[in-house]
């Protein structure tokens, strides 16, 4: 079987596990980050722990800006991959 079909099936199965989780297991879950859940465990193990450094990087003001920056990250990566693959494909054809 072509690898593309197998990968397609894997992606469909991945979507299915999400839809199952969302509609059957818990329709109210927001699928928040696993790192947030880890923060709760830290608070449970050591309730007195305070993060000792606040961070000097830019903090997105809200979910909208954050999703913009994540989308930008994906877009930059995809652009490089698409450009390079297209360039080589064209070059291979000419030769």
């Amino acid at each position: 079987m072509k690898l593309e079909y197998i990968v397609g099936i894997v992606l469909v199965l991945f979507a299915a596990q999400f839809l199952y989780a969302h509609f059957v297991i818990d329709p109210y879950s927001e699928f928040s980050g696993a790192d947030g859940a880890a923060e709760d465990v830290i608070a449970e193990i050591n309730p007195d722990y305070e993060p000792w450094f606040g961070g000097i990087g830019f903090e997105p003001p809200g979910g909208e800006t954050e999703s913009l920056l994540f989308a930008l990250q994906a877009a930059i990566g995809s652009l490089i991959i698409g450009y390079t693959f297209g360039y080589y494909r064209g070059k291979n054809k000419v030769n």
Binding site: I25, Y49, F58, I80
Partner: protein, 232 residues
């Protein structure tokens, strides 16, 4: 999902920097050497870095724990260029995310680099090379190596947190179980997707740039011929 800023106390954040910095320096040295000796690999290096950029930006939902996490994307670079060069590509992505996205952090950069950009890639590299010698099918090998590297990354993150936050009862091991239940278990469906996507992109690399794969000792020329025959 990386360890948040300020969430590793002394001495752990320093220890993980001490682990990561020498590897990154060695990786930079290796990368410089590779780029000056073989200019033709530069675009492939860019693609491997870009692949980490894309995959680590995708926050995917996982039914296992009803939470979201992201793939690492480091398996491809590890298989192509080895773990040292991959650590340099990985630290660039981790820096971007900690500086602009408040995701991860500068004080935890050493620990996050060790997990995502060093130990995960070492797992991918060692698995790929051994299974390749044993004659495993190329795509299956890439799939398994990458999926295992993804899981290993989050097992390491769990170990790092457990060492820094041992439970009063049960110590490091009890904490590890708690963190691993969150990180590593969430990651299982994501690791499968990451493995599949990496196998696919490696197929296209074989299609367009197989001679570089032979140069980098990723595949023998006999293996390339076999894979290309199967494509037609």
């Amino acid at each position: 999902m990386h360890i948040f800023e300020g969430f590793l106390p002394t001495p752990w954040w320093q220890i993980w920097f001490a682990v990561s910095i020498p590897v990154i320096m060695y990786g930079m040295y290796q990368m410089n050497k590779l780029v000056s000796q073989r200019r033709e690999v530069v675009p492939l290096l860019a693609v491997a870095g870009a692949f980490i950029f894309v995959l680590s930006s995708l926050k995917l939902p996982s039914a296992v724990t009803m939470s979201s996490s992201h793939p690492t994307g480091t398996g491809m670079a590890a298989i192509l260029f080895g773990p040292a060069i991959t650590s340099v590509l990985g630290v660039i992505v981790l820096l971007y995310q900690s500086l602009f996205l408040a995701h991860g952090g500068l004080t935890t950069l050493g620990a996050n680099t060790a997990a995502m950009a060093i130990i995960g890639p070492v797992v991918a590299y060692v698995f790929y090379r051994s299974a390749s010698k044993a004659g495993m099918n190329f795509y299956l090998n890439v799939f398994l190596a990458t999926a295992l590297a993804d899981l290993a990354t989050y097992v390491v993150t769990s170990v790092q947190l457990a060492l820094a936050f041992p439970s009063e009862v049960g110590g490091v091991y009890a904490s590890f179980t708690k963190f691993a239940l969150i990180f590593a278990v969430t990651q299982i469906p994501l690791a499968v997707v990451e493995g599949a996507l990496t196998a696919l992109i490696m197929k296209y690399v074989v299609q367009i740039k197989s001679e570089v794969l032979v140069d980098l000792n990723v595949l023998s020329s006999a293996a390339v011929t076999k894979i290309k025959e199967a494509m037609e």
